[in-house]
């Protein structure tokens, strides 16, 4: 893990959660910055959060019913017209704009929960650390994006036509970590309201932390709906990774460095790549490079231009 990226991740976490007063009083920030989203998963109920979470924002706009008339008959047509007038175009536009330029880079460089996973993965454990986990699980995040972030807030509604942010409610471990654990500590009144749902969310967070020690970024790889949206843009974004097979000496250093557990030689434009650029940094031959305007060559080159002695095994 590069020091430069760690510093950027730490700064981003501090900036997006820079409302220090909230951590003292337990009251969340209510200023004008909450009109906009950050390009990362950061719960807006975190006492320090300065901006809104895009995944939460998409759900509340959809769940709010938009232009849906609750008094009209619940037909597919009335629902569809409601969707069109109440679609979260601002958030989708913002996320698409970011992804068009840098793909999934905000996951690798800015996301506080991504950083948390990187840090937990560094904890030494008595068993062998693994990569990104079973391939099938990587598709789960697309199901979550479509099912829990879009369809459930739209179609699982109460009698008034309103719904809930189901991903936040049932899954989001960032919300549990940043808001669910902190707010009841800071606001004693909330403690009496904790029940089965809280127990479920804390259990899920604990399970994920356990998995983070063994696997690389299990939440990003398997569950994150934001990563599911950004991921496909990796292939076409303005700045993207390119692999030069003529330079590759198959040392395997890129595979060892990848925080998503990918093989950058074969999957350098994978939707699971978080664009951390660690593979390009450790590559002794600069075979993996960022391509884009203003960039003549690769990511930061390795200080030694020779293959390190430890990297003689052929892993491909």
């Amino acid at each position: 893990m590069s020091e430069r990226r760690t510093i950027v991740q730490a700064l981003s976490t501090l900036l997006t959660n820079g409302y220090v007063k909230g951590f003292v009083t337990g009251n969340i920030y209510t200023g004008p910055l909450k009109h906009v989203c950050v390009p990362t998963l950061n719960c807006y109920s975190c006492p320090g959060a300065l901006c809104a979470c895009p995944v939460g924002a998409v759900q509340v706009v959809l769940a709010g019913g938009g232009g849906f008339d609750p008094t009209a008959p619940h037909t597919i047509w009335t629902k569809l017209s409601g969707i069109l007038s109440g679609a979260p175009v601002f958030v989708i536009g913002f996320l698409t704009l970011i992804a068009a330029f840098v793909g999934r880079a905000s996951c690798g460089w800015l996301c506080p929960f991504g950083w948390f996973q990187d840090l937990v993965h560094r904890i030494p454990v008595p068993f062998t650390k693994r990569g990104g986990g079973p391939r099938l699980l990587h598709y789960l995040k697309y199901l979550i994006l479509v099912g829990m972030v879009v369809l459930m807030p739209l179609f699982v509604v109460d009698s008034f036509g309103f719904s809930e942010p189901y991903f936040c409610k049932l899954v989001c471990p960032a919300g549990t970590l940043e808001g669910g654990l902190l707010l009841p500590i800071l606001q004693p009144d909330l403690r009496g309201m904790l029940g089965k749902l809280f127990a479920w969310k804390v259990s899920l967070l604990v399970l994920l932390i356990g998995l983070m020690t063994a696997f690389r970024r299990p939440f990003c790889n398997w569950l994150c709906p934001l990563g599911a949206w950004f991921g496909p843009f990796n292939r076409v974004s303005l700045y993207r990774l390119e692999f030069d097979e003529n330079k590759c000496v198959q040392c395997g250093l890129c595979v060892k460095s990848c925080p998503s557990g990918l093989d950058p030689v074969r999957e350098c434009d994978s939707a699971d790549c978080v664009r951390c650029l660690d593979c390009g940094r450790v590559c002794p031959k600069q075979a993996i490079a960022v391509r884009g305007p203003g960039l003549a060559s690769a990511a930061t080159p390795h200080p030694n231009d020779a293959v390190p002695p430890a990297a003689t095994g052929n892993v491909h």
Partner: protein
């Protein structure tokens, strides 16, 4: 009729061009949607929700 090799080169070029300029289409679409969202007052909806503690988000409700 072009020979097979020519056609595959053209196909590759077309694929490369699509890949090289797809970001522009995505960025344009993103910018339009962003502006549309602002015009429709979506940030106000987000503000309204994001300035109250989301009980579901923290595991209550």
């Amino acid at each position: 009729m072009r020979p097979m090799a020519d056609r595959s080169i053209f196909r590759e070029l077309r694929r490369g061009a699509v890949r090289d300029y797809a970001w522009l289409a995505a960025a344009g679409t993103g910018a339009v949607l962003l502006a549309l969202g602002i015009a429709l007052g979506e940030p106000a909806k987000i503000f309204e929700k994001a300035t109250a503690i989301c009980l579901q988000c923290i595991g209550i409700g």
